[in-house]
């Protein structure tokens, strides 16, 4: 019987001809990543393991992204500890403020995540890199420390589920809507311990950025990883950036899947996830009109240049509703600079939005956009748990960047088409 792309990557890294779901393997890792929150316990664990150096200083990535620029003295101390650890052990990929951005946008952009890799990231959204055809999974700090020390990890080979999206997407429907819809169908723990593989005409038509939005949220269905087999779009993205050699794996036609889901993407309208679970997702038409206080646009889910272009398309010449605070945070300095060059930042500032530095801050209620009791936020981020963005009695809705921009202008959750029709502007 054939193997899935996930099984092939894991077999190759375990030095085996084949692996099957349920097998416990010891596998070599190609890349280990930690951020300013997760590096702190990882460094503490690393120092107790009893080795002097990381297994390969060119394959460890440290990104201060969550509480950076330092939110307070304690956060500054955590970042300092990480910086000193990187210097002391000659870790090549420590990204200082100014080069650092949101980790899961940064690694693919900088060519550090490439097809065929086995990547461990001490952050649950590390499944993002599966969009490049890598096996990538989120782990805790101790697992990251162990991999930094030994270059290996143990894994249980997951069962794979196949998600096939047929058809063409309607206007304003994006990768975000495909993954929100998927999560609503399988549930928050619907793919627990499993891999999610995405394919089909609608997936192949997507840019790398939108594909990353999809695999980013595999963890929101409890999955171990999300993956999309490399195609021409992937290689066009990878070739000019890759810092490491890559290998393209594809699933065999007779590979075994635990479950296969087939949907017609052309039937979908934009989706909105209601508080307090990503699976609590409904079509936009059922959310339209809900008043919000804040709109947040950015994050490892939707803070890439294509996302900002869509936001600018809706916001250009219009104003953010006077009752709304709209915070836009480009995911990396490269995204920020590109947005500047294209005049997008101008559009946002003219509209009355706030453009923040690249940080994870608002997404996890860390800083730069925390919600007060009773407040509602529509966000392009990936989680809307109780207290995720601030007070335990605040409410987060998740949607794509076009819906977020339309909501910022309308003051209520809104359809981009309606906002554009209602507020015709002379350009």
């Amino acid at each position: 019987m054939g193997m899935t792309i996930t099984e092939k990557i894991l077999a190759a890294h375990a030095g085996k001809k084949e692996v099957r779901p349920g097998d416990l393997i010891e596998a070599k890792v190609d890349l280990v990543m930690a951020n300013d929150i997760t590096a702190a316990p990882a460094i503490a664990a690393f120092e107790k393991i009893g080795v002097d150096n990381v297994w390969d200083p060119e394959r460890v990535v440290l990104v201060p992204s969550h509480f950076a620029p330092a939110r307070d003295i304690a956060s500054a101390a955590q970042i300092k500890r990480m910086r000193e650890f990187a210097r002391r052990l000659n870790i090549k990929w420590f990204f200082e403020l100014g080069q650092a951005g949101i980790e899961h946008a940064l690694l693919p952009e900088q060519g550090l995540a490439v097809p065929g890799m086995l990547i461990l990231g001490a952050d649950s959204h590390s499944c993002t890199y599966g969009a490049l055809g890598a096996f990538s999974t989120g782990v805790g700090s101790t697992d990251a420390a162990a991999a930094m020390a030994t270059g290996e990890t143990w894994l249980r080979v997951p069962e794979s589920n196949l998600f096939i999206f047929h058809g063409k997407l309607r206007p304003w429907v994006s990768g975000k809507d495909l993954i929100l819809y998927t999560i609503s169908q399988v549930g928050d723990d619907g793919c627990r311990y499993q891999a999610m593989e995405f394919t089909g005409e609608a997936i192949r038509s997507l840019s790398m950025e939108q594909r990353m939005t999809i695999t980013n949220m595999a963890i929101e269905a409890g999955a171990k990883s999300g993956i999309i087999a490399p195609d021409e779009t992937t290689l066009e993205y990878v070739k000019p950036r890759a810092k490491f050699p890559w290998t393209v794996y594809q699933s065999d036609p007779d590979a075994h899947y635990a479950r296969v889901f087939e949907w017609d993407a052309s039937e979908l309208e934009p989706q909105v996830s209601f508080p307090h679970l990503p699976s609590n997702t409904k079509p936009l038409s059922e959310a339209a009109g809900i008043e919000v206080d804040q709109v947040v646009i950015g994050s490892c889910t939707n803070g890439r240049i294509e996302d900002l272009r869509i936001v600018a398309e809706v916001m250009r010449g219009r104003k953010v509703h006077p009752r709304i605070r709209c915070i836009i945070f480009p995911a990396t300095p490269e995204v920020y600079k590109q947005a500047l060059r294209e005049g997008l930042i101008d559009v946002f500032v003219e509209a009355g939005a706030v453009v923040s530095t690249s940080t994870c801050g608002p997404c996890l209620g860390g800083h730069m956009g925390v919600l007060a009791e009773g407040e509602r936020c529509l966000s392009t981020t990936n989680r809307n748990y109780v207290g995720r963005m601030g007070h335990p009695r605040s409410y987060t809705y998740l949607a794509n960047p076009a819906v977020a921009a339309a909501t910022a202008v309308a003051g209520v959750i809104a359809d981009p088409d309606d906002v554009i029709k209602r507020t015709e502007v002379a350009l």
């Binding site: 416990l24 929150i37 997760t38 702190a40 316990p41 503490a44 664990a45 107790k48 393991i49 009893g50 080795v51 969550h66 509480f67 939110r71 307070d72 304690a74 956060s75 955590q78 990231g121 001490a122 952050d123 649950s124 590390s126 989120g138 782990v139 805790g140 700090s141 101790t142 697992d143 420390a145 162990a146 020390a149 030994t150 143990w154 249980r156 928050d188 723990d189 627990r192 311990y193 963890i219 409890g222 171990k224 679970l277 996890l364 209620g365 860390g366 925390v370 989680r383 748990y385 109780v386 207290g387 995720r388 335990p392």
Partner: protein, 170 residues
């Protein structure tokens, strides 16, 4: 291991266990003060050392933050019994030596305030208040080995020391 049960529903995520706002420290006691704060602001004050969390499905979903099992240990909780655990939380708990047991029957039957006894090696959960006994899903032997060593760090330390000794002997 014996303690009183504190009961929670399904999908208790890592933001509920320890909100990201407090993740500027790795001190277990400090983290413990805010454990489960979003679900019950006084939780950490109610916990007596050795008490047990009993919860529904998908406990620990969300973030990879190891601060979640650290906060649970830090506030004095001795073990977590749940209908099911989210993958990364499960792994993190084993790695740092927080006892966790998966038993849908125990998770459903045990009520808040019940006195619960846990035999980790046997995977047996006894509700001393009602007299019911439940068998948890056993850990794979490899994970049990890590857990017995006290977590992944001591496990690796022992492994590395063995390798060094073997290299010197050879």
């Amino acid at each position: 291991m014996r303690g009183r049960a504190h009961k929670f529903g399904p999908d208790i995520d890592t933001d509920v266990i320890i909100p990201a706002y407090y993740l500027n420290t790795i001190d277990p006691v400090e983290l413990g003060k805010h454990c489960m704060e979003a679900a019950d602001p006084d939780f950490s004050k109610k916990v007596k050392p050795g008490d047990i969390i009993v919860a529904g499905k998908n406990f620990g979903s969300g973030s990879s933050r190891e601060h979640a099992p650290i906060a649970i240990k830090g506030c004095g909780i001795g073990a977590v019994v749940a209908e099911s655990f989210a993958r990364i939380f499960f792994r993190n708990a084993i790695n740092i030596g927080l006892p966790i047991l998966e038993s849908p029957e125990a998770a459903a039957a045990i009520q808040a305030g019940d006195e619960v006894e846990i035999d980790l090696e046997a995977g047996r959960i006894t509700d001393l208040t009602t007299g019911q006994t439940f068998q948890a899903t056993p850990l794979p032997p490899f994970m049990m080995e890590i857990f017995r060593a006290g977590g992944l760090v001591p496990y690796l330390r022992q492994k590395i020391e063995r390798q060094r000794a073997a290299a010197q002997g050879a």
